[in-house]
Amino acid sequence: MSVLTSGGFWAFVGVVAGIYTILALGLQVQFGFAGLLNFGQVAFMAIGAYTMAILVVKEGWSTWLAAPLGIAAAAAGGLLLGLPTLRLRADYFAIVTIAFSEIIRYVATNETALTGGSQGTIALGSIGTATQYNGQWSRFQSHVQHSLGLSSSDATMLVLVWATAIVLLTVTWLALRTPWGRVLRAIRDDEDAAESLGKNVFAYKLQALALGAALAGVAGLFYAWEFSFFSPDDFQPLLTFFAWMILLLGGLGRVWAVPVGALVFGFIFAGTRFLDFVPFSWFASDERAYLRLIIIGLIIVVLVMVRPQGLLGNRREMVLE
């Protein structure tokens, strides 16, 4: 229980919540605003993280060039996925997106020469050397820490992630208030009606998918920097489901509901990590891990049943029907 009072722990929870905010924001743009059932969001996170890591370690690029390219690669992934599949009906599209994310994970696991395979980024460099991709980032982080007078690297990362998240949230919020955003909302409401009003629905959906993917790419970058190491197993469909749960928690269709959902989720998820009081203390640690996920599954189901509009959602505008 003493962990619960440590500042480092809460900073960590905050960082994770921040990363998930950005990931879920991407999903919000795709589903909450364009009505796209993307269940493969984690794939774009992986593309962003891996692109950056590969460029830094294998090609010796500067992080400040590799990172934007990682985001661009994620967006390109969105375009690649969307072009052939966006015309499919909603349920087929959902299934295909899951398939896409599993394929990405498969490729990452098996193309060892490119990605380090199942061992993860440690194996990115030549054999025998354990490589790091965040040398430059760590230096940048220390620099920020000292300039701002922060006490720890955890606190610094917290600030960096949330500063980025807030910028992205604001930009998204503004974008949705433009005529462009209005078209997106119309598509979410009734895409055939939008089409008969002269809007090229396919093009807008593709844009939403790509932008959402780019946001996931940013989340992937921060994930990579926070944990200094990752492997294909870090990008399981489970993360996409967490992002969906965050949308459900906070409320569909509202930009500022996303950080609320993410913080609640972060609290539940990290908080349940330390269920070392009765009756949870009766179970071994791996059993407790399963229990946590059962609780999360239950929360999803209960939310869908009882409050599908989420904590902050508007029942009138409720997108879940």
Binding site: L88, E102, Y106, N110, W244, I296, G297, V301, L320
Partner: protein
């Protein structure tokens, strides 16, 4: 090549049986049962419990697995799906609820049984040789059972009153209700059949793989969904065809005659590529109905 086709038939049979279950439920309830893979794992594990610790024969174990899964399906309908239907939950809500359910199921299985691998008490070394094709006992059982099941299910849907009721309700739920069909009963029957098939598919898959753990359900789920979509969602016959087609395509793609063949590790990717290509050409699936504007 013949060996590959035979292997493909085995895999395809498992996919086909599972896919029919998914299709039936979708037809009646418009619900994409994301938890189907975990139903399969559940069936396989129950069978293991009966076959292993309880030391019963494989046949009894399989039947137990099927019955348990059917029971679970119906119970979940009462506890989860019916309340959602009463609330007029739409497609999205059902999809998300199914995902939540899948999570709960899988983690519960892991919690109860741990993540270690298990095997049934069968002889993995007994082999049947037909010409140049070698099949293990498990594989032969799988093909034979699948063929029998497919026949039974096909006849059931086509010839029996219940089967026709199921197909009618799948076609148009509202109309069926007006026509006096007991939609509630049809729903329960669909879940029972889906559960039986899921349990069977799980046991067969576990048999063929020889060793399995609670996670294997999800791995199977995606090719099964691919089979359902390929065949045309809502069409049970399509699901059968889709399952067999994908199973065979997956195995055959590794044939060295195809410029060295696909790396076997990427077999699931083959399943999806086939699906993607098929959808590009025929977006509603092989037996699916075209979207009426």
């Amino acid at each position: 090549m013949g060996q590959l086709v035979a292997n493909g038939l085995v895999t395809g049979s498992v996919y086909a049986i599972a896919a029919v279950g998914v299709s039936l439920v979708y037809g009646i309830l418009r619900l994409v049962n994301f938890a189907h893979g975990d139903f399969m794992a559940f069936g396989a594990l129950i069978a293991y419990a009966v076959n292993g610790p309880l030391h019963q024969s494989m046949i009894l174990a399989a039947l137990a697995g099927m019955a348990a899964t059917a029971l679970l399906s119906v119970a979940l309908d009462v506890v989860l799906w019916k309340p959602l239907r009463t609330r007029r939950a739409g497609f999205m809500s059902l999809f998300l609820a199914a995902i939540g359910l899948a999570l709960i199921l899988r983690q519960s299985l892991l919690f109860a049984a741990g993540s270690g691998p298990r095997s049934y008490r069968v002889n993995p070394y007994r082999v049947f040789v037909i010409g140049s094709i070698r099949l293990s006992e498990a594989q032969v059982i799988a093909i034979a059972t699948a063929a029998g099941t497919i026949l039974v299910v096909g006849l059931f849907l086509a010839r029996t009153t219940t089967g026709r009721i199921l197909r009618a309700t799948a076609d148009d739920r509202a109309l069926s209700a007006v026509a006096g069909i007991d939609v509630g009963r049809a729903t329960r029957i669909a879940w029972v059949i889906s559960g039986l098939l899921a349990g069977l598919a799980g046991v067969l898959a576990a048999l063929v793989e020889y060793s399995f753990d609670p996670n294997f359900g999800f791995q199977l789920l995606l090719p099964v969904f691919a089979a359902v979509v390929l065949g045309g969602i809502g069409s049970a016959y399509g699901a059968l065809a889709g399952g067999l087609a994908l199973g065979i395509a997956q195995e055959v793609s590794t044939w060295s005659g195809f410029a060295g063949g696909v790396n076997p590790v990427y077999k699931p990717v083959v399943a999806f590529t086939v699906l993607a290509l098929a959808l590009l050409v025929r977006p509603q699936g092989i037996f699916g109905s075209a979207r009426v504007a």
